[in-house]
Subunit: 292 residues, 2 copies
């Protein structure tokens, strides 16, 4: 049984924050939802869509009297937000976030949240889309998805339990993970693929015959490059925040790709087939395991 959140404060009412608000509302898990963002027109839109009850552009007002504060701003804005709300946070307010990289967020929390750090539960819902903004929010965005929480030494056990239950109420499976491990796993499966897709599309867009090139692209290209439509600011922030882990994966990729190029230069058909076969086997196993 989930004890209702009397007042939920969502800082950053975009796809993720908005979908969480909708999901909790649909399940009766929340009383009042207060939204906070920089741009008033987005907040008014969120009210019009019934995603939030009321709004303020002032983070201090937004967190006043909140049971739970969800920080869903771009990673580059998290530390300033922590700094802004820390002085007025109530002693019973839980804080969580939804950032795609955790180590940087935890370091920012330690620097800025002071005594409130024990009630900060770092979180990351593995959901989202190329779409962004509150108009894309859906109450089933987290249904059947995983939410990773990365508690650290100072994290309060009760805070962790309550935030985990909040996510479970949306239909998500909550998994706890070491934060450095989270950052490496996400660098491999999400951050690096985004960088590769952005790089490829940018390369083709800069070719002389780019109109024709895109014209003859097939379904495989569409799927492969879809993530290059993701929000540039969000991905800039992820890169900066998770720089070390991304660089590690990126360098490993460059080494692998260089090996493939050398096999191609050497016309080593057997090496090419062997690499492709191993990859196909792994991808097919993943498809089966994930019920694709």
């Amino acid at each position: 049984m989930f004890e209702q959140i009397q007042r939920l404060s969502i800082i950053g009412v975009g796809l993720i924050g908005g979908s969480l608000a909708k999901a909790l509302r649909a399940k009766g898990g929340v009383g009042e939802i207060v939204g906070c963002s920089r741009r008033e027109e987005h907040l008014q839109q969120a009210v019009d869509l019934g995603v939030i009850d009321r709004y303020t552009t002032d983070p201090i007002q937004a967190v006043a009297g909140a049971d739970v504060v969800v920080v869903a701003v771009p990673l580059g804005s998290v530390e300033a937000l922590f700094a802004a709300i820390a002085p007025t946070l109530a002693e019973n307010t839980l804080i969580t976030d939804v950032g795609s990289a955790k180590t940087g967020v935890v370091e920012a929390a330690r620097r800025q949240l002071g005594v409130h750090c024990s009630r900060f539960v770092p979180g990351h819902p593995i959901a989202g889309a190329e779409k962004s903004g509150v108009s894309a929010a859906r109450d089933d965005l987290f249904l059947g998805r995983r939410v990773i929480v990365t508690p650290v030494a100072e994290t309060d056990a009760q805070a962790l339990t309550r935030i985990s239950r909040m996510w479970q109420l949306t239909g998500a499976e909550v998994v706890a993970m070491d934060m450095e491990h989270h950052d490496r796993v996400l660098a491999a499966t999400s951050h690096l693929p985004h960088l590769l897709a952005y790089t490829l599309v940018d390369q083709l867009a800069n070719m002389q015959t780019h109109d024709e090139i895109f014209r003859f692209a097939a379904g495989g290209f569409r799927d492969f490059t879809r993530i290059a439509s993701s929000d540039p600011v969000m991905w800039r922030d992820i890169c900066v925040s998770n720089r070390e882990a991304i660089l590690e994966m990126l360098k490993a990729f460059e080494t692998h790709l260089s090996g493939l190029r050398q096999a191609l230069e050497a016309q080593d058909a057997a090496a090419l087939q062997s690499l492709f076969s191993a990859a196909k086997q792994a991808r097919d196993a993943y498809a089966q395991a994930s019920g694709e």
Copy 2:
């Protein structure tokens, strides 16, 4: 009005050859369809599925009396196939192929087909899937898709027209293109993305924690890596056949990716955002143009 093909010979009855057979049959564009492959069980399956009328494992028998021969074998087998059928080809038989790289096929045709080379029309339907085999064949696989033909100096105009009309009957749009240009365009939009997807999946599969890594992969990863389930032999052959153009694109990609890595190492957030924004703009324009 399409003049019916009395006898169509499909050499290589897989996804593409099988789908062409089904599409032409559905439109009444063909009388008898003869299938030829190396493995008899695949051919029997094609008969059982109603894709072909009869079969032989002997290419010479397969092309006997055929109006049109469609060569749909892996690129690495095309030249040997040309060599096998050339001595017995009738003077009115048209030959076409479906290979994903054209220069190598044309060179093989020039070496092997002799006087029949004028009736060889190089073709490439931009359709397909990670799936392969005749069981995946569909009569609407080419509907609304593009088929590129790359006629060369010696190509007979009537042969080109007839093969083009054959593809149009399947619902495809037929576009003529210079063969070297075709090979560069496809290297950029299809061959390079396949190599990147194969490389990434292979890299992750070789990591110690690969089970967990795949477990926390999200939808973006699924889309990005779907093409890594493609047939390894087919892609080995494409790499060997279109080696020069692929290497050109691959080297350009390595340069671009190295630039991105340097921006990340330098924590140059502005450069990252600029690259991501340019890529998103190009990808969004492509999505709009392609009606995605």
